[in-house]
């Protein structure tokens, strides 16, 4: 059974969307998705049906959510501080180090 996997809608024909999963494409049915879907939208696919239209704004908000959790570390928590520094320093492309 397949996990719910997100992909990007590249074409729509009636209630059938062609969704790109960054390398492969698959038909996904739109019968039970929660909001109207347009080409360019992101959807979560589960066993051949889109079960959620993922709003692009939520993507940035999720990252902010993670940042908030990290920021709640104690000022005295040097490890967390190091990590925050690392994230700030590496910017958009964090690399595994050492």
């Amino acid at each position: 059974m397949c996990l719910g996997v997100p992909g990007k809608v590249v074409a729509i024909d009636g209630n059938c969307a062609t969704v790109d999963f960054w390398g492969v494409r698959r038909q996904v049915l739109l019968d039970v998705v929660d909001e109207p879907v347009a080409v360019g939208d992101y959807v979560l696919n589960h066993v051949g049906y889109a079960i959620r239209r993922i709003p692009e704004s939520e993507i940035g908000e999720t990252l902010a959510l993670f940042e908030e959790l990290l920021a709640q570390g104690d000022a005295a928590d040097l490890m967390a501080g190091d990590v925050r520094g690392e994230i700030a320093g590496t910017g958009a492309a964090p690399d595994g180090d050492s």
Binding site: L3, L29, D34, G48, G73, D77, V83
Partner: protein
């Protein structure tokens, strides 16, 4: 290097980012220290969560005092042996059986669909509900879709039924509904679980609001979490915060997919076709409202009503001797772990499964066996 595709970049860099993961793991350690007890037990109820935890080796980095336990989150594992017998009986009666791959090797009372296949039964593994329809249209012979999975997957079954099935296709529903099982587990005496991680994709359908009554009843926090490594770690952090503060409420750490009310359209389809029914969950005995049964008005596509399923015709093969030692039930309830089982890895392996937990890709024992269980790999290399 700007990329025009935020979600792809986000997935690759952010959700699977080892640097942020380390930060979140450190936060987990800090919170467990703040809680200050020798043992903090949290439970999740989703095979996909267990797979992700095991696949990314997340437990290797968590503090020893923190136990993240898998509860009854494998819908195939909790499918009762008698339900499997129904599928096997139909297969032996010559009906084509379409099912998701996991169900094929689950032992019924005497045999599995795979055993029936060796004898010549026609078993088809499908990857989407629509394929059951395509198969029936192509074969023009009686086909039964042995439909397994939790509510998330039941939505797809409902969708194909509402669209109209070809006349030769029937549905044998083994779908399960997870919230009632959480109630059963939370009410089990001796359970030391202090908080639940709820399955993000089931909650995408039902909304996180369904957990509020649960929290009210049991005074235990519930956090809805996604499935990328950072999602799971963030979910654990939030849950530990709620445990530390003693504030039982529901928190949503998967807002990109989960809202309070959920996917109303999917819910409509689901409850139009299915109703919660009492049922036996393998190993956990009765879960009131834990099964999803086809409503009466869909009797014409319900395999149990439309076809004669002759379970009595199944050959009584070698008595399941080892089954007595099988502790799948306790494992699925989260009371014991696979390594507690005398059969684990010896008499019971994915190749020769005794219990359902070892068969399904979402079963605790199978996942542990596949991903090496709980060995402390921190000191290696």
């Amino acid at each position: 290097m700007a990329t025009p595709d935020p979600l792809a970049a986000f997935r690759e860099l952010k959700f699977r980012d080892p640097v942020r993961a380390r930060g979140l793991v450190d936060t987990v350690h800090r919170l467990v220290r703040e809680i200050g007890r020798d043992r903090v037990s949290l439970m999740h109820v989703c095979g996909s969560h267990e797979q992700a935890i095991a696949k990314y080796g997340l437990r290797a980095g968590l503090p020893p005092a923190l136990k993240v336990i898998m509860g009854p989150g494998c819908p195939v594992c909790v499918t009762d042996a008698r339900e499997v017998d129904e599928g096997v009986a139909l297969a032996r009666q010559g009906v084509h059986i379409a099912t998701y791959g996991d169900m094929v090797r689950v032992p019924g009372t005497w045999m599995s669909l795979a055993d029936a296949q060796v004898d010549g039964a026609k078993i088809h593994v499908i990857y989407s509900a629509g394929q059951a329809v395509e198969l029936a249209e192509r074969l023009q012979e009686p086909v039964v879709f042995f439909a397994t999975g939790f509510e998330t997957t039941a939505v797809a079954t409902a969708a194909i039924i509402l669209k109209g099935l070809p006349p030769n296709l029937s549905i044998l529903s083994a779908h399960k509904y997870i919230p009632p099982a959480m109630d059963v587990v939370a009410a089990t005496p001796g359970i030391a679980v202090e908080g639940f991680l709820a399955a993000g994709h089931a909650a995408t359908i039902t909304g996180w609001g369904v957990f509020e009554p649960f929290v009210g009843r049991h005074r235990l926090p519930v956090v809805v979490a996604g499935f990328e490594p950072l999602d799971i770690l963030a979910g654990l952090v939030r849950l530990l915060e709620l445990v530390r503060d003693g504030t039982p409420h529901v928190a949503n750490m998967y807002p990109r997919c989960v809202t309070k009310s959920g996917n109303l359209r999917a819910q409509e389809a689901l409850w139009e076709v299915f109703e919660p029914a009492g049922g036996r969950w393998r190993g956990i005995a009765d879960v009131p409202g834990g099964n999803l049964a086809l409503r009466d008005r869909f009797a014409s596509v319900d395999a149990r009503k439309r076809l004669t399923i002759d379970v009595s015709s199944l050959p009584r093969r070698a008595a399941p001797i080892l089954a007595e030692s099988c502790i799948c039930g306790s494992i699925m309830a989260g009371i014991r772990s696979p390594t507690d089982c005398p059969l684990f890895g010896g008499a019971c392996t994915p190749d020769h499964p005794v219990g359902a937990c070892m068969v399904s890709t979402e079963g605790t024992c199978r996942i542990w066996h596949q991903y090496g269980g709980y060995p402390d790999l921190g000191g290696i290399g």
